[in-house]
C-alpha cells in the first residue's frame, strides 16, 4: 500500500459541498478504469462524506492520510480496474 502509483492529483480544499464531490466526479470521468486519483480535501464535512459517496458510486477507496495541516489525502481507484 505504501508504493501506490498516483495517476492524477486533485485539490478540493477551496471548494464547498456539493462542488467538492462534483470536482471529484469530473476528475474521475476524465480517467481510465483502474487509474488512481489522489484527492486533497479539508477535514470536516468533505472527509466525512466523500469516501462514502465514492463507495456508493462503486469506486475503491485505497487510503486516507492525515496531512497534519487540517487537510487529508484520499487515494481512490476508479471503478472497473
Amino acid at each position: 500500500m505504501a508504493d501506490l502509483t498516483i495517476d492524477k492529483t486533485l485539490d478540493i480544499t477551496d471548494a464547498v459541498c456539493p462542488m467538492t464531490f462534483v470536482q471529484v466526479k469530473v476528475a474521475l470521468e476524465e480517467m481510465d478504469d483502474g487509474q488512481t486519483l489522489s484527492i486533497r480535501m479539508n477535514d470536516g464535512e468533505p472527509v466525512q462524506n466523500i469516501p462514502r459517496s465514492l463507495k456508493v458510486e462503486g469506486h475503491k477507496v485505497l487510503k486516507l492520510t492525515d496531512g497534519g495541516d487540517g487537510a487529508y489525502e484520499l487515494v481512490v481507484r476508479k471503478a472497473g480496474g
Binding site: M1, D43, V47, Q48, N49, P51, R52, L54, K55, V56, K60, V61, L62, K63, L64, T65, D66, Y72
Partner: protein, 286 residues
C-alpha cells in the same frame, strides 16, 4: 335521514367548510402509491371533485369537494381501481415512512416493508385518541420519527472486522458521534458513544465493519396542539418480533391509561415515565 358526520369522518370523509362537501382521505402506507392508483385518484378527482388533490402533512392524499350524494359511488369506484379510503378519529392513523434501504443509500432498514407490516397489524385500531406511527430509515431522520406517538428509526449494530481492515481511517472520520478511535494496530469503538448511525459501515471501503440492522423506538411524540419530542427508552432492537411486542405493549398502555381524547404523551406524563419505561422494558425482554 340525518347525516352521520362522525361515521363519515371515521371512514376518511372530512367535512369541509363548504356544506355537504367532503375532502376524502385515502389510505396510503409509507407514502407509496402505484402509478395505476394515481390514475384512479386523478380520474375520481376529475369526475367527482374539482380535479385537484391535496397531499397531506403525513404522506396522505385527499380528494376535496366530494359531494355527499356521491360518497357511495366514489367509494366503490376507488375500490375497483385499487384505492382504499383512509381513517380519521381516535384510532391508528396512516403509517408514514421514508424510502428506506430499498431505495436510499443511507437507509439501514427496509422501511416500506416494515410500514406495511405495522399498517396491516394496527391500521384503524380503535384507541382513546389518534395514534401515529412513523418509520425512518436512518439517523438522518428524513421522516422525523420523534414527532410520532411511536417512531421507528433504523440503525446498525456494528462490529469491527480486524482481518479485513487496512486502518485507512475513513470510518474514524465518518463517525459523527466520536465513538471511534485509531491506534497503531486497531480501530477502537466506544459502545456508549455509538448512536448506531452506521456511517462507519456505510463508508468503509474494505467492508471491515459488519453492520446489522436494528430499530430504535421513540415514544410519546406529538406535533399538533402540543409539541413534544418522542423519547427513546430502549436499546437498539434487533428483531421484528421484539419490535412488535414492544409496540403491542405501548398501545396496550395507551388503551388502559389514556382518557378519551388524550394522546399517549399526556397519558405517560400522568401515569409516570418510569412506569411506562418499566412496561416497555418488560416487553423488550419478553
Amino acid at each position: 335521514m340525518a347525516v352521520d358526520y362522525k361515521a363519515l369522518k371515521n371512514g376518511g370523509f372530512m367535512r369541509q367548510a363548504q356544506k355537504d362537501n367532503f375532502s376524502l382521505r385515502l389510505k396510503v402506507v409509507g407514502g407509496d402509491l402505484t402509478a395505476d392508483q394515481l390514475l384512479t385518484i386523478a380520474e375520481i378527482s376529475k369526475k367527482y371533485g374539482h380535479g385537484r388533490v391535496h397531499l397531506t402533512s403525513r404522506q396522505g392524499v385527499e380528494i376535496p369537494f366530494i359531494k355527499l350524494e356521491d360518497i357511495e359511488d366514489v367509494k366503490s369506484e376507488l375500490e375497483a381501481g385499487g384505492v382504499n379510503t383512509g381513517v380519521c378519529g381516535p384510532r391508528v392513523r396512516t403509517v408514514t415512512a421514508c424510502q428506506g434501504a430499498a431505495v436510499c443509500p443511507s437507509g439501514c432498514i427496509d422501511t416500506h416493508t416494515l410500514a406495511t407490516e405495522i399498517s396491516e397489524r394496527y391500521f384503524g385500531r380503535e384507541l382513546p385518541h389518534k395514534f401515529k406511527f412513523g418509520v425512518t430509515g436512518c439517523m438522518n431522520n428524513c421522516l422525523k420519527a420523534e414527532e410520532n406517538d411511536l417512531g421507528v428509526k433504523g440503525g446498525y449494530a456494528v462490529r469491527w472486522l480486524k482481518d479485513a481492515c487496512v486502518l485507512c481511517g475513513v470510518c474514524v472520520k465518518a463517525c459523527r458521534a466520536g465513538a471511534l478511535g485509531q491506534t497503531e494496530g486497531e480501530i477502537t469503538l466506544d459502545a456508549l458513544k455509538c448512536d448506531h448511525c452506521g456511517r462507519c459501515a456505510k463508508s468503509c471501503p474494505f467492508d471491515a465493519w459488519l453492520g446489522e440492522s436494528g430499530y430504535m423506538l421513540s415514544f410519546g411524540g406529538s406535533f399538533g396542539n402540543r409539541i413534544a419530542k418522542g423519547e427513546q427508552l430502549l436499546p437498539l432492537i434487533r428483531d421484528k418480533e421484539t419490535l412488535f411486542r414492544v409496540a403491542d405493549a405501548a398501545l396496550g398502555f395507551f388503551d388502559r391509561h389514556a382518557a378519551a381524547g388524550e394522546r399517549l404523551r399526556t397519558a405517560i406524563d400522568r401515569e409516570g415515565w418510569e412506569i411506562f419505561k418499566e412496561e416497555m422494558e418488560a416487553a423488550y425482554h419478553g
